[in-house]
């Protein structure tokens, strides 16, 4: 018997606005994410990556389609599966006036984490922010905020992580550190990770599968080496540019410009 995928999305669509001024943010996409894998949603601004992640998390109601996560219908029973998920995004923040420890205590309570103080101490050690625990979240640098946001995302030891641009606005050293942490965490726990990113090096390094999005559609998919070979390019960035600009093999394959 084949194992159920961690994520199975069918005909997922999101349309905003009234009939005369509709904007289709996601246009009926299908994909699966195998358990324990890392998958990237790759695409330019407005390609539909964040919208897709928001629908997977239940923050946004789809116009059509179905989402199954860890064998659960997300549209009907999302509250049953939310304790096993977590996410991080640059579009959300932790309350600035609470200290890092207070913020994590609150989320530990929301996720019913047992021995919360111990879990926070472990995360602080692993993510190297023990010295920041009693500092207000609003007083942290971008890199420190990313560490704390990741700690929040890992507080419930999730079976699935959804990460929207996990290394956006980080310096190369901190970004590399975050990628190493994600690799280590996946290897240790077999967590499924779906991430949206603009960083091609990150995707090449971390991901088993790449879903190329453009104008709300998945226009191509495969492993990073498969895509590079298919487009006859040197790296994923060149593939991305071909698809974004509708040139090279992307033009031959009639990927919409």
């Amino acid at each position: 018997m084949t194992e159920q995928p961690a994520i199975a999305v069918t005909g997922l669509a999101k349309t905003y606005g009234q009939a005369d001024s509709q904007v289709q943010a996601v246009a009926g996409i299908d994909f699966t994410v195998p358990k324990g894998s890392v998958t990237a949603l790759l695409g330019g601004n407005g390609a539909g990556k964040t919208t897709t992640i928001a629908m997977l998390l239940g923050l946004l109601k789809p116009s059509a389609g179905s989402i199954r996560i860890l064998d659960t219908d997300m549209l009907r029973d999302r509250h049953r599966i939310l304790p096993r998920l977590n996410f991080s995004s640059p579009y959300v923040d932790l309350p600035h006036r609470l200290t890092v420890r207070q913020n994590l205590m609150v989320f530990a309570g929301l996720y019913a984490v047992k021995a919360a103080a111990d879990r926070i101490a472990t995360l602080a050690r692993e993510l190297d922010f023990a010295a920041l625990l009693d500092r207000p979240a609003g007083a942290l640098s971008a890199g420190q905020k990313t560490r704390v946001a990741l700690a929040k995302a890992l507080i419930n030891q999730p079976d699935m992580l959804l990460l929207d641009e996990p290394t956006a606005s980080l310096d190369p050293d901190t970004a590399d550190w975050v990628r190493s942490l994600l690799e280590k965490y996946r290897a240790e726990r077999g967590t499924t990770i779906l991430l949206a990113s603009h960083n091609m090096g990150e995707v090449e390094r971390l991901c088993d599968q790449v879903l190329m999005m453009k104008q709300g559609r998945i226009v191509d998919r495969g492993t990073a080496p498969e895509l590079i070979s298919r487009y006859g390019r040197q790296n994923l960035e060149e593939v991305f540019l071909d698809i974004a600009r509708g040139q090279g093999k992307a033009a031959e394959q009639k990927v919409p410009a």
Partner: protein, 272 residues
Amino acid sequence: MSMMTEDIGCSLQRMTAMLRRHWYLLSGSWTRIVELIYWPAVQMIMWGFLTQFLAGKTSYVAQAFGVFIAGMMLWDSMFRVQLGVAISFLEEMWSRNLGNLFVSPLRPGEFAVSVLLMGLIRTLVGMIPVSLMAWWFFDFSLYSMGLALAGFFFSLTMFGWAIGIAVCGLIMRHGLGAESAAWGAMFLILPVAAVYYPVAVLPVWLQPVAWAMPPAYVFEGMRALLVDGVLRHDLLIGAFALNALYLALGFIAFLTLFESARRRGLLLGQGE
């Protein structure tokens, strides 16, 4: 409706986590605590002096000295409950935290109950010192109303909750542009709430509107107690019955507007 049933939920642990979040914020900021006391204190002092002045001029006020101060403090309690609910919600929007909260197992119904309780806590933090100040400055004890005070206060709290939670839904659906509703919504009913004058003073056509609002029952009941020394159970029962209706409507409005915000993608990225 099935979606709403799923949205309600009831986890004491998650609601406690939300209360803890707001308690951390409140207890860590003395300016916030001072603000909770400052405005009601200023109003109480102003109404106290006005009452002292009027007591020498009219037999009505002389007979029931505390009727204006009690009216002001009870009205302000209701307003502070509503404002406390809305501010607790706005804190999440200002800090762009709604996305984090609603991908956690926290259900919208639990979120709503936690902000209602915070509205009550914020009000008690502000109003208990002010009621003691009224005792100290003007020798008027709100607590002289005895158990009836608990009935009046809880009835007004329920109405403050109802308006507060509906306002939260409105802000979630329309964004921070609707923020002013948090401060202004309650004053829409002030003229017909009969806080300082009886419903009978209103034009005949407006009186049914006043009797459709629970505060009118409470303030009429308060005057009956302070002026005539009579506890009107009928008025208290009328207020609670209407409050149950308004609170249910407030919750339905919140959950409906929450679903609308989810459809429109407003939960992610709202903030300053």
